[in-house]
């Protein structure tokens, strides 16, 4: 159908969206989406719904199962938590997916189950190493890297320690120095007094 539906970025729909026609979502939708045409989730789109359409393109965030009659495209920057099912599924580098991926239509997929899941697993596995592992690995080295730095900090701590130490020393010396100073003065003064005397 020529008419298309647009959910603007400042709009929020809670409930069921159904019918024929294309759907472009830049806002938020909670509930269910079942349309006959193409559904495009824009970068600002935030969906908490199961989506069923002939074609689904995701650039935003979706939490729910996606079922497409023709094709399903997860583009870079998209985040999907849910199962994907379509005859053709594309996950672009940079697209995040967490869920089961199955190519092939629902009815035809079962006989081909051996082939379809194999294909499905590959993109899923590809997607996970590309996106998910790097952060933990990067995080671990960071954690590992953190311990080494402490030694230098220790040095730096040791360095400032003297700086800090003098202060306490000064603080501690306040009672101390007067003692030596006084005798020195006393000695000097006594000697001077004696000489003068």
């Amino acid at each position: 159908m020529a008419t298309s539906t647009v959910i603007g970025r400042a709009s929020f729909i809670r409930g069921r969206v159904s019918g024929d026609g294309d759907l472009e979502i830049a806002g938020r939708v909670e509930g269910d989406i079942a349309v006959g045409g193409e559904v495009v989730i824009d970068t600002s789109g935030l969906i908490a719904a199961n989506i069923s359409a002939s074609r689904i393109v995701v650039r935003g965030a979706v939490k729910g199962d996606l079922v497409a009659g023709e094709a399903l495209v997860i583009e870079a920057g998209a985040r999907v938590v849910g199962d994907l099912r379509a005859p053709r599924i594309a996950i672009a580098p940079g697209g995040l997916v967490r869920g089961h991926v199955q190519t092939g239509t629902a009815g035809a997929a079962r006989p081909r189950a051996a082939a379809a899941p194999a294909r499905a697993v590959v993109p899923e596995v590809k997607a996970r190493p590309v996106v998910a592992p790097p952060p933990p690995r990067a995080a671990l080295p960071a954690v590992k890297a953190a311990p080494p730095p402490p030694p230098p900090p220790v040095k730096t701590v040791a360095a400032p320690a003297p700086k800090v130490a003098p202060k306490p020393a000064v603080v501690a010396a306040r009672p101390g120095p007067p003692a030596p100073v006084v005798p020195v003065l006393k000695k000097g003064t006594k000697a001077v007094q004696k000489k003068r005397g």
């Binding site: 159908m1 008419t3 298309s4 539906t5 647009v6 959910i7 603007g8 970025r9 400042a10 709009s11 929020f12 729909i13 809670r14 409930g15 069921r16 969206v17 159904s18 019918g19 024929d20 026609g21 294309d22 759907l23 806002g27 509930g31 349309v35 006959g36």
Partner: protein, 104 residues
């Protein structure tokens, strides 16, 4: 261009909330809340209470309309429900059954 359009052939059952303009060419059942203009175009059907800024109706509305601005019932409109607004126009050819409440 309006920011949110419910196209012909699309049905929304539930609540539609928007901070921008809403144009309804399809069907909305439930509740329709907009901060800005609401337009029910010819062929559009709303079975819901509507609240928003200026509301223009050329389609069918079953429910109360509550506007902070004006309500225009255009030719071809069919409205069953109460209308509350500061200004109201009812065009020749519009069908309307309900109460009108204007701040007097």
């Amino acid at each position: 261009m309006a920011s949110t359009v419910i196209g012909a052939g699309i049905t929304i059952e539930g609540e539609v909330t928007s901070d921008e303009d809403v144009v309804v060419q399809g069907t909305v059942r439930g509740k329709l809340v907009a901060k800005d203009a609401v337009s029910i175009e010819h062929g559009g059907a709303v079975e819901a209470d509507i609240s928003g800024g200026p509301v223009a109706v050329a389609g069918t509305v079953t429910g109360n309309i509550n506007s902070t601005d004006r309500v225009d019932l255009q030719n071809g409109a069919k409205v069953i429900g109460n209308v509350k607004a500061t200004r109201i126009t009812i065009a020749d050819g519009a069908q309307f059954k309900g109460n009108v409440d204007m701040d007097v």
